[in-house]
């Protein structure tokens, strides 16, 4: 190719590529739009009104009934099975479950990560290797005995049973933070040490404030995982008072008649479970993208 391609022609040549990209974006997002579209369709009308881009008679009744805001009869008239639904409660449970685990786990694992990265004690590397080995174990192996343990303790359908296994640590979080602490320069810590600060002061006053970024990244990942967690909460806390959103959606589906599921209600509940995700993207989009890309660079 001897003559330089003009900008205009280049743009035109790239048009198919742009179309592919936009198509991919469409496939990523359209299902979520369809979820919302179904959620605002009146249940009884769904069999005849399920193809247009907008429902003929948009309504909020499905949201109201999954949130438990309308009477049982009204809910049944709108296509519900009559089962009790209170997504406010499940939403709260999800927030508590996610919040507790994210805060406690990040803090405790930061302490441990710091110890593994900076302190000297006997058996440090051996212990750390045990943690790394635990990373490889698929969760189902410990899930069965953990369920048995929680059951024996009488903690089924309690918050403590729900959060116990991941409240204090996951091997991944320890591993992740230790790698980060290894990477930060020691100068500041050294200066603090010369000023007479002990390990606790250094950790709280110097290290934690300096590593806000990675801590936040880890907390974000943990929060997303915990929010999405399904099997464990379904097994140990299916009861109304401790039921989290994901488990509630599974149970909702089970209660719905097999032949004609309550799609409008299910989509309204699903939409509620996605709201926090969208907030996350709106507020922390850049950080989220950076942290994922960062884990790619590490590879």
């Amino acid at each position: 190719m001897s003559a330089p391609v003009t900008v205009g022609r280049r743009r035109l040549r790239r048009l198919p590529a742009w179309i592919c990209l936009i198509l991919a974006l469409g496939i990523s997002l359209f299902p979520l739009y369809w979820m919302l579209r179904t959620a605002i369709t009146p249940g009884p009308e769904l069999p005849s009104d399920n193809a247009g881009l907008l429902p003929r008679h948009p309504t909020l009744i499905n949201f109201e009934r999954v949130l438990g805001l309308v009477s049982r009869d009204e809910a049944r008239a709108a296509g519900g099975s009559g089962a009790n639904l209170s997504f406010f409660l499940y939403l709260r449970n999800s927030v508590v479950y996610t919040g507790l685990i994210t805060c406690a786990q990040t803090l405790f694992c930061a302490m441990a990560g710091y110890a593994f990265a900076r302190l000297r004690f006997r058996g440090r590397d051996a212990l750390f290797n045990v943690f790394v080995a635990a990373l490889m174990v698929p969760p189902i192996f410990t899930l069965l005995p953990n369920f048995a343990l929680v059951k024996q303790l009488g903690w089924l359908n309690t918050y403590q049973g729900l959060v116990a296994p991941s409240l204090l640590m996951t091997p991944f979080a320890v591993f992740f933070l230790r790698q980060f602490f290894l990477g930060i320069p020691r100068d500041v810590e050294q200066a603090a040490f010369i000023d007479g600060a002990g390990p606790w002061t250094i950790f709280w006053r110097v290290v934690l404030p300096m590593t806000k970024g990675p801590l936040f990244t880890l907390a974000l990942t943990t929060a997303v995982w915990t929010w999405n967690d399904y099997l464990w909460p379904l097994l140990v806390a299916p009861g109304e008072d401790t039921r989290v959103l994901t488990a509630a959606l599974g149970i909702f589906l089970k209660q719905s008649p097999n032949t004609s599921p309550d799609w409008t209600g299910l989509m309204a509940g699903s939409a509620l479970s996605v709201v926090p995700v969208l907030l996350l993207v709106v507020f922390f989009g850049r950080r989220l993208v950076d942290s994922i890309q960062f884990s790619g660079m590490k590879g």
């Binding site: 997002l29 005995p145 479970s273 994922i292």
Partner: protein, 307 residues
């Protein structure tokens, strides 16, 4: 998402300033919560899990020792082998889709735009809870009212029972999870592409190499280490398929989607065969361990050509 980093043999550097004694006591304080959590919810259950696998425990009565009976049963259990086969099929499908689509998208983004908004939007499906995405797709793929079938019919094709046909069920489940994970894979691969020096592309363009050739001759070879990393992560992840199957197909139709995770779950919590389920779970640990080991060897063999 960590396996790759393990290959680096780092040892934590010497403690802060040189001290005569170690920091044993302080370290214990720093480590206490994590050690308690690890002992109570990782080590103890692992030991118990191994013990249960040698018993006939059914959640209700006391576990009775049965030696290796569970393992003998497992070897002869056609459903177990079927579950492994089905899982492997799923893994190949979903990882294949994710990586091919992810590579394509990442390459397009790399050549066209640095838009952060675009990247954030692409990653949205990854953040959607897997239960939610399974429900959503169950509705989109519904045999009668689903949107996708409307699309097929309007194109003059027949309705498909995506999740009710034994042939289509597993590809459908794989596609559902690929929908969730592709954005994430794309970002990882895109990050890898950013590491390739721009001059190489400029030189290639000067030589008159087309974009497609550039992708196969430059991008792909230089991306090898990150591709290997993505492969490991998505492979291990995919082996643990549970949520989408539990919501959409429940292992059916005719065992077509009874993946190993779901099979273990059913044995434990529907049939209350805790002992047998533990033996299954321990076997899965061994299988995954072997797989990880093999992959790590492969990873080591694929160092970056840029280094």
């Amino acid at each position: 998402m960590t396996t790759a980093t393990l290959t680096k043999t780092e040892t934590a550097g010497a403690a802060l300033p040189r001290r005569r004694r170690g920091d044993g006591r302080v370290a214990l304080a720093f480590l206490a919560p994590v050690l308690i959590g690890f002992a109570a919810f990782y080590v103890y259950p692992a030991v118990r899990g191994a013990w249960y696998s040698l018993t006939d425990w059914n959640l209700l009565s006391e576990p009775g020792f049965v030696g290796l009976d569970n393992y003998a049963e497992l070897v002869r259990d056609p459903l177990f082998w079927n579950s492994l086969k089905v899982t492997a099929y799923y893994v190949v499908l979903t990882v294949g889709m994710q990586i091919v689509l992810g590579l394509g998208l990442a390459a397009l983004m790399h050549r066209l735009t640095r838009s952060l908004v675009l990247r954030s939007l692409l990653v949205v499906p990854w953040l959607v809870p897997s239960v939610t995405s399974a429900l959503l797709w169950m509705w989109l793929l519904d045999a009668n009212l689903g949107f996708l079938n409307h699309l097929l019919v309007s194109l003059g094709l027949d309705n498909q029972g995506f999740l009710t046909s034994p042939e289509l069920a597993m590809p459908s489940v794989a596609a559902i999870n690929a929908w969730g994970a592709t954005g994430y894979t794309t970002l990882l691969l895109y990050a890898g592409m950013l590491l390739v020096p721009q001059q190489i592309y400029e030189a290639a363009a000067l030589d008159g190499t087309g974009e497609v050739r550039q992708f196969f001759r430059i991008t792909l070879p230089l991306l090898r280490p990150i591709l290997a990393f993505v492969l490991v992560v998505s492979l291990i992840d995919s082996f643990q398929l549970f949520d989408a199957v539990a919501v959409t197909t429940k292992g059916g139709p005719v065992d077509a989607t009874r993946v190993v995770y779901y099979y273990i779950y059913e044995e434990a919590f529907t049939h209350f065969k805790m002992g047998y389920a533990s033996a299954l779970a321990l076997s899965l640990v061994l299988i995954l361990g072997l797989l990880t080991f093999v992959q790590m060897r492969l990873l080591r063999a694929s160092r970056s050509d840029l280094a």
